[in-house]
Symmetry: D2
Subunit: 387 residues, 4 copies
């Protein structure tokens, strides 16, 4: 809309980010208006498609590489017909195999890696990060810093342990400074994003107790990916709901890692994900115990302070109706409400994101923007789509 000073204000970064380890000549030649060349590995999944949708509106991104194993040789329009039409389609490269790394890295400044976990770590280990290439990894491979924990939850030994330690965990609002200079950003899981955005500021300030945190999360089915399985067929998801991975979902250690770090000592959480008949969205209902002297208002004020200058995280004022996933659909927003529980000493947090945007591809682009010194909301300005 016009007459706004700018739809998305460039945040005042002191300077164009200069990754510490980057000695790449490519970086130094990057001028403020040059396009950012982007490779998307694993473009045939839902997060790959969503990156395309977002980057189509990004004035600085130029997609130079799209990879997909089974669909190599096809156009992306053959995989996702919505990308068959118009100018955007005509500028997209044909899908190729991920394997010939050297070839495509030569035309990339940033890599979005949307590959399955385990295979991801080998690919990323082979990338020329020392030459200035920046990577945002959307898999789970670099989210857990603890090598043992990775082994325990994902099986197999991690093949790139050095990088695992180096990787920056990319909830942008919470770790912006580290993201700025990172070579490798581990883009957070969808559930962990929905849970940590409301909880971490509260734990940092010790306004809630570390015990008995319950995270009951409801997710859209796109989170289960595009590989055909009985459990995600229309007839098996429509008109119903089910809990899954009860007490053993892999996002649990990721959440606990973030909360523990914020609080300064180990935290265990009860986390239950649910699969429900919506395509996009996560709603997390979070039950917490208040630190002495705190109530919902204390918590709300803490969160409003923490996110007051953020584009994408919004903390509702008291008395407003709780957020709905529909109200963030297609946007990079996270909306949070805080309510006093009827039981004294307790509060309830409700947090909503679009799992494919703020929970995956949107946050990945947000991280890219920060890494490349671009305005953080570039390409992510669109309003939610409702109805």
């Amino acid at each position: 809309m016009a007459f706004l000073p700018l739809p998305s204000l460039p945040r005042s970064f002191a300077a164009i980010p200069r990754p510490q380890k980057c000695r790449s000549p490519r970086m130094t030649t990057a001028s403020p208006s040059a396009p950012v060349k982007v490779a998307i590995l694993g473009a045939s999944g839902y997060t790959g498609a969503e990156l395309l949708r977002i980057l189509a509106q990004h004035p600085r991104a130029q997609i130079t590489t799209l990879t997909a194993e089974r669909s190599a040789g096809k156009t992306i329009g053959q995989v996702y017909p919505q990308f068959s039409y118009g100018l955007f389609a005509s500028h997209l490269p044909v899908l190729e195999k991920t394997t010939d790394v050297q070839k495509w890295t030569e035309r990339a400044d940033v890599v979005f890696c949307c590959l399955p976990h385990a295979t991801t770590q080998n690919i990323i280990a082979s990338l020329p990060l020392d030459d200035g290439l920046r990577v945002v990894d959307l898999s789970a491979d670099f989210r857990l810093r603890d090598v043992e924990q990775y082994h325990q939850w994902y099986g197999g030994e991690h093949q790139a342990q050095q990088l695992q330690k180096e990787a920056v965990y990319g909830i942008t609002e919470l770790f912006r400074d580290q993201v700025r200079t990172a070579r490798l950003v581990a883009n957070p899981g969808c559930y962990p994003t929905s849970a940590q955005l409301p909880l971490i500021p509260l734990l940092r300030e010790k306004l809630i107790l570390p015990q008995d945190i319950i995270i009951d999360a409801k997710s859209g089915t796109s989170g289960a990916g595009r590989s055909p399985k009985v459990g995600t067929l229309f007839c098996e998801v429509a008109d119903g709901i089910s809990a899954y991975g009860v007490a053993r979902h892999r996002h649990t250690p990721e959440i606990e890692q973030g909360l523990s770090e914020a609080y300064g000592s180990p935290i265990r959480v009860s986390f239950t994900p649910h699969l429900m008949p919506m395509s996009r969205g996560i709603l997390a209902t979070i039950y917490v115990k208040l630190a002495p002297g705190c109530d919902a208002k204390t918590l709300r004020q803490c969160l409003q302070r923490a996110y007051q200058s953020e584009h994408f995280v919004h903390v509702l004022d008291e008395g407003l109706p709780p957020p709905q996933t529909r109200h963030v659909r297609g946007s990079n927003n996270c909306v949070i409400a805080v309510v006093d529980d009827a039981v004294p000493g307790r509060a309830i947090l409700v947090s909503c994101i679009d799992n494919v945007v703020k929970g995956a591809s949107g946050q990945a682009v947000q991280n890219m923007n920060v890494m490349m010194g671009l305005p953080e909301s570039m390409g992510l300005e669109n309003q939610p789509m409702f109805p």
Copy 2:
């Protein structure tokens, strides 16, 4: 199916129930094979329609009265076209006003009252209960025994306080003996049914702690009724989820009443309902703290013992996938799973019902069966519908 001794075994009731206060000559004339004459007040809502669907298969029920205020004079087929066809339709009475009580009570043995709360209490107070008429009330008017609490949560003074005290709370499995002789059964709310069936046996045996019980419930939209409101329009419900009534839903005191009674001292719970895009079903995810020495297995065994001879309540064995609302859709079943939480000392219960059946009309018919000395599962034998 043939060759089963009987698909639903008549439970061995010692004798035909004889309500203590009943001096009605009508009751004494009731022969074992005579039809049970049924009046449904408020038949144009979803619970009324569901009663019709169920009673259509009930070999002993005969519907003699259907009332509806705005639709009086119409056939039920004009309100619900699915009931326009066939023999069943041709035997249904035309909708009439509820007001002329005397007229229709003369042809009723049992009344199902599906009216809005507040108006319900006046109607029921005017019924000739002393003459042996039995009432199953599906509204909230007689669920809370405490007059003050009713006033606090529903506003206005209760107009039938004597009956409020007399009414039997009808989770059939838990209060069968009282239901048998009751003149007035307060049919439980849908959420309270889904929460109390798993929790009450555990609290009776003190296997879980009374503190920090969290009930996170997800409901189908039929629970919101058929009156048109923006919030239940297709576009406002589809492809999303929202919490509502956070920390102040009226089913909270109903749940707390049942749990407190079971435990022997007051219990407060955190209860959050969610509205989601399914027509039928409630899934309640319940987080509890274990009493010392207990684990999920202890809880599971307790529940399996409690419900081992029940038709409708099923407690899953260890290791099975958690229940889905789809798997109880259209049936009177409640399926419960118990899982050890990853956090020591905690467990997670998942409970599924069809909110319109076990959460409303199915349990109402189950209560009628018990009240009239019929096999408890009569008319409720159909399998769930999936897909």
Copy 3:
């Protein structure tokens, strides 16, 4: 419901059916109250599951065999958890391989064959039909009487051409007499059932022209089966609609065969199926040209005459709202409306069925009932489920 003379009136069959070719001693021993022993081949698909749901309520059926290739050795409750509970579950046989035909045919009076087309014909050819075994085949293998046409639309040569000629096409209302004595009934496709029920009586009486019949059909996703494919994933079906198989869907020749036969000369139709986000249901919107002197009323009267004594086919009176798939969901009903088009000389028919019931398993049981001399609606009496 009580006081109805009987919820499902046994149709007055002159005698217990006696298939002409049947010389089986087994048949002669069948007493009126003996159970009908049923084998379901391919029980792990949606039509298999639906047969179970229906037969669970069938007072004369006894399921003696369930087969499934990949799931052999499992209980049906492991494949469909909704069948895990209660008495019904405990009486179901464990899934076994289809291959050992001799073993399970010994304990079967009727076989429901829910196998993929092509493999079906070989299995059925191997069955001891001469010994009185009756078969209802839910695949497409025996629907087309013309061997050439089968070859053209399904590829490969038919392996049981003699049986293909003998098989009776089982739209029960239209071919009841042939079904009664058939050894092998080809249970019709879901789309063909929804199209032929309204069209065949009109063509038999030549009330509509044979040219330019348009059948625009919208189907629930269960019609696509339970095998996982990208195209039937929740995210690919929800909140949208698509046409598929335009001008080349395999149900076209099946429809044309029935219409041509009814009219007495070849008829071609335009048939377009659509996949939409519902689990069950087909709505066919059919555009026809009126024969001279006819209008919607003529057509409606013809259909009402044709179906006036039927349990399951209902033709709406003038002025009623058009039928909805929701109003037949879970039932064996077909509801038909006839409307004058605004364009002179044209009419529009709307026909609704549940694709899994009247479009598959319900009609299969209806055919079994006719074949075995049972009341035609036995096990099929339940009302539609709405909401």
Copy 4:
């Protein structure tokens, strides 16, 4: 995306449009970079909300007025929470009554009128069109040029018959030149857009016969608006489909008007709309008879020629899978496929739009862009959202 010459190429308009009747000083002062001041009347409905979503991304639009009767005095964020957050929200005016026309017209260059039909004509008649105000009306009031026809289909006499004659029917691609200089554009109905885009070029070139055109259309529920009615409740729309307004839907004369004009003589069509469980989208399946010598290829080529330089209308090449509404969701695209029917001499067209975008608010903005001399795709560049 960068490196495209421009994501949306400004079409080469010979000059900034200059409406013939415009003598307004305001127009002459409009500089190429000045914002276009926009008023949205009836902003609380779905089309109003969608205008906001689109205009939020429009670099030249500035929303100066939002009206709503019942919600006057509220912020739009109170009506649509998705607009509560961020910079965009903070720049939106508070909702006011429509009645004080003079006040808000002073700050408007363009008016989008999303009011109910009938009331619309009075409001628009009172607007200062002579002063250069441009109006895009999203109601039905100015779509039918024939006064008698309006009366017949909508009842009541038209209150602004002069304007009714003047109004330009705004399917942008087909009537761009008239739109450019129009004071009042009648924004087309959703169904008529989906039907006329594929049919008009074919009729103009007489490649299809004018008889027996069948339009079978399936619509998302947002088309029914946000006013609560039983028929659009979630439980009444989910998991099913119904035809409505069969042979008497008000979009019929609108479609016939466009087709007749294109063909040069009166055309009647069979048009059946269906309501189905999706929030957004229309898929129209259109059955036509070919003119002698034509086949699907002829038709396809005609349409590809007609739309080859269009941003938003895409005609699929032979052999591609038919379009799905999901593939245009949230975009202003219309995708069309042409297939030879199996019946000789016939073809089938499938056309998909998002009913709220190309079927309403998107096309309205497209028209505004044309009227104001802006690049036609400005604000409408976003890719479809799938999943």
